[in-house]
């Protein structure tokens, strides 16, 4: 194969876009492309062909458990990120610093903090009896599709976050999962998917685009693993979120 036609590298571009050249050849082509608009234009055309090649392979469907594993991994990552993004107070940061950098001073600091907190506790406790807002708990009712199952949604005092706990739900086939729906008017927003252990117990930190307090009710349905864009399966639990 001639390397160049009129000093261009056009003949090399098919192998270049496929990464089939040696390292030295790749460098030569890249160097030429940097200054040659003719070859850049040809490269764009031949790259379009390479972009289409994956569509020409015979297609096979992956096993359903690939999606189950993917969505579980994503959800776990999401929950961990959410937890780690919680704001850390100045006191916590200082305590962490002291604990990691200066263990002895850190210990002394913690002792001082504990004593200080004990003194403050009595005074704050008195005020809290009048002003604190407790966590809210919403009991969910089961349906004829899941007799005997129970569920509770725990919401933080600000109505922003929530955790769902369920028990006595049926263990589903690998291709199915439970999906939480947050309901406002006719709109159904997914709050995440979960599975239960062999005893029928499971929990899920609800992740929603809006604070939970803004939704009117909650429902749980059986959906294909990984979840559905909107409810398609049997409802197993549900309840109003009366604020």
């Amino acid at each position: 194969m001639s390397m160049e036609v009129e000093n261009h590298v056009i003949d090399w571009l098919p192998a270049y876009v496929l990464d089939a050249l040696t390292d030295d050849e790749m460098d030569q082509v890249a160097e030429h492309l940097a200054d040659c608009q003719t070859c850049q234009a040809e490269l764009a055309r031949i790259q379009q062909v390479a972009d289409e090649l994956p569509l020409a392979v015979a297609q096979t469907t992956p096993p359903p458990d690939v999606k189950v594993k993917l969505m579980k991994a994503i959800h776990t990552r999401q929950v961990n990120r959410s937890a780690s993004s919680q704001p850390i107070s100045l006191g916590q940061r200082l305590a962490n610093l002291l604990r990691t950098r200066l263990p002895a001073l850190g210990l002394a600091f913690v002792v001082v903090m504990v004593l200080g907190n004990l003194l403050l506790w009595r005074q704050i406790n008195i005020n809290n009896q009048q002003t604190s807002t407790p966590m809210r708990a919403y009991a969910l009712a089961n349906t004829q599709n899941s007799p005997g199952s129970v569920g509770t949604l725990i919401m933080d005092p600000n109505g922003k976050y929530g955790t769902l706990v369920v028990d006595n739900l049926a263990t589903l086939d690998p291709g199915k999962q439970y999906q939480v729906w947050l309901i406002k008017g006719a709109e159904r927003t997914s709050g995440g998917v979960f599975s239960v252990n062999p005893d029928g117990y499971g929990s899920l930190e609800i992740l929603a685009p809006q604070p939970l307090v803004q939704y009117e009710s909650i429902g749980i349905t059986i959906e294909p693993a990984g979840g559905s864009p909107s409810p398609t399966g049997a409802k197993v639990l549900g309840g109003e979120l009366l604020h």
Binding site: M1, P14, V49, L53, L55, A56, V66, G226
Partner: protein, 190 residues
Amino acid sequence: MDYARLNDETLLRLIARSQEAALSELYDRYSRLVYSVALNSLGDSDRAEEVTQDVFERVWEKARTYNAEQGRVVNWLTSIARHRSIDFFRQTRSHHEDLQMSWQEAEAIDLPDGQNVEWEVDLVQRQRRIRWAVAQLPAEQKQALGMAFFQGLSHPEIASALGEPLGTVKTRIRLGMQKLRTLLQDEQVA
């Protein structure tokens, strides 16, 4: 929200905002394609499954970095799939001389059952075009192209695996890609 009605770019924007249902929909659309690219590269279903999961986890993490000006979402996905598969392939180096590329024959492809939304129609049309074009190539060109594209093998590696002269392999790849380019261009004009 009916995610099936959203285009790929919108799904990616929702994925960037951590919408799991959007990732679920994107997976339903393109997992077959991603898995098939990996399977063709690796020839091993277990590793192809691993790559498939890895590709969509990367999409979850990198959705914000997608730039529509650099290409379509499906090309972005298959590019990730191809490069991850080649990485796996190089790590394990299975016997590439035994791998059989499985270019799809250019038979008619029916639109899948369902809503036939824009992304499905577009994908099926593009599959028809490229499969038709690949089917026009001589078998030895298809084989060399497959080894370069899906296994990431260089000219010398392909020549060694096939027991062919280096110049022959270079010519097959060059002619194969140039012919595909001409066929696709002509077909687009027609």
